[in-house]
């Protein structure tokens, strides 16, 4: 539906749009995303996406990288926010805790993006994961 309507563009601003779009795509070519183009091409080809233009794969790569970076940033915020709660109970070593991406933080971050990741409780992400409830009980 959107696709059909989006093509009904008034002729006035079309020229400006075109130049802006070309500029944007050209700027993408200068930017090297972390996700390699070949990887994106491979998965796009798998999903039936056909386009010889490398600028578009670059666009997809950048979009994906942005998405992942956003999720990771959110997870980082979660990670930074979490130790503050437990800080009182733990030793001082926990204060200088390294920032580690965990499933807990990731699932929280992803929930905002509409991805529902259930962290299985029986998975031992860390060697101390199983010991936590026991130590708390004590």
């Amino acid at each position: 539906m959107n696709g059909q309507t989006s093509h009904q563009q008034p002729k006035d601003g079309r020229h400006d749009d075109d130049t802006a779009l070309t500029e944007f795509l050209a700027s993408l070519m200068d930017f090297t995303p972390t996700i390699p183009d070949e990887l994106v091409e491979h998965y796009l080809a798998k999903s039936g996406f056909q386009c010889p233009d490398t600028r578009l794969t670059r666009l997809v790569a950048v979009a994906t990288q942005k998405f992942i970076a956003d999720v990771a940033t959110d997870a980082l915020q979660q990670c930074k926010a979490r130790p503050a709660v437990i800080k009182d109970k733990r030793d001082k070593q926990q204060k200088e805790k390294r920032l580690i991406l965990t499933m807990e933080d990731l699932s929280k971050a992803l929930r905002e993006y509409g991805v529902n990741v259930k962290h299985q409780e029986y998975f031992a992400d860390t060697p101390s994961a199983g010991l936590d409830p026991a130590s708390r009980d004590e």
Partner: protein
Amino acid sequence: MSDGGEAEGTRDKQNGSNLRSGAGDYSRAISRVAMAQICEGVGFEGFNESALDSLVDIAIRYVCELGKTSRFYANSAGRTGCNVFDIVQGLEDLGRPQGFTGASEVHTDCVVSSGAIREIKEYVDMADEVPFAQPVPQFPVIRERRMIPSFLQMGETPAFKHVPQWLPAFPDAHTYVRTPIWNERLSDPRTDKIELARQHRKAERSLLNLQQRLVCNGSSVAATSAEPCNGGNGSEVNNNGSLSLEKPLETEEIGVPGVSIPPKLYSQAQTEKQVSLLETFAPAIEAMKDGLDSGSDGEKTTPEKRDSVFLELKGGKKVFGEPLDLRIRKAVGRTASWFGREGEKDDKKRRVEFILRQSFENQQELPQL
């Protein structure tokens, strides 16, 4: 940490086997590195395996979803190839749950001013470039397929009218033409038989040669004479027990009952009931050595030598008298006796082998005696 990662990894692999195949593992490994790099860029110092795996899964899904949505929009616009507008539509669709600036004015005229694109623009301006750690080759590598050349490429014209030229050419005629199979014998049974006999003779000759050599090596006396088959000498040596290949006493006791003396011999040596072993096969050895034609010459020479032996042994044993007697008589009526003997040659050879075998066995028993 690692436990969770491994467990989850296997689960992902099982799920992914339906979705992805072939280059799946490779592309997954690449995306793992890429995701780890992004996390590092964001500020993480480490990661759990399971979390990274989930992130990789999500990234892959994102790309696939974006491609699928873009293709959908392209298809609904009547195109097979995608363009920027399809991708922007797809981005807007994917970003819808979270919402983006300008989401309320979806039907914007300018694609560039779309919220999704604007955000990407900002990200490109803001984020620092972290290129992928290693150069990635184009994958999956599609091997160049070797096609069967068509009639046109082969420069042939199809054998039948209904076969068009662009079809792959027929294989060579010899690969499919039916040919009758004959149960053909490559070799003639007669020549086979002759060959078999020849081989048999050869084997026997080599056996006899071995026998001769053993006899010659055993006797220091025979070293001087070129004639190796001095029956008397050989038996004398054996009597001394140096070689003990066939000890006359042993042959008397054991070998003789097995040996049936040929009738001719028997008649000639009626008084002698016991025949020494060497006497039995000496003619055979000579026959093998000299052949039929030269056999008479060999016979001429041998009795002279044996005379001395005969004299030497006469007092000793009865056994040796007989064969030497026979020799002398044979020298007299040599042609008759020779041809008579020829027919018995095979039997004698067989006996020689048998006695040899027995004497070897007895050799082991000798020390006990």
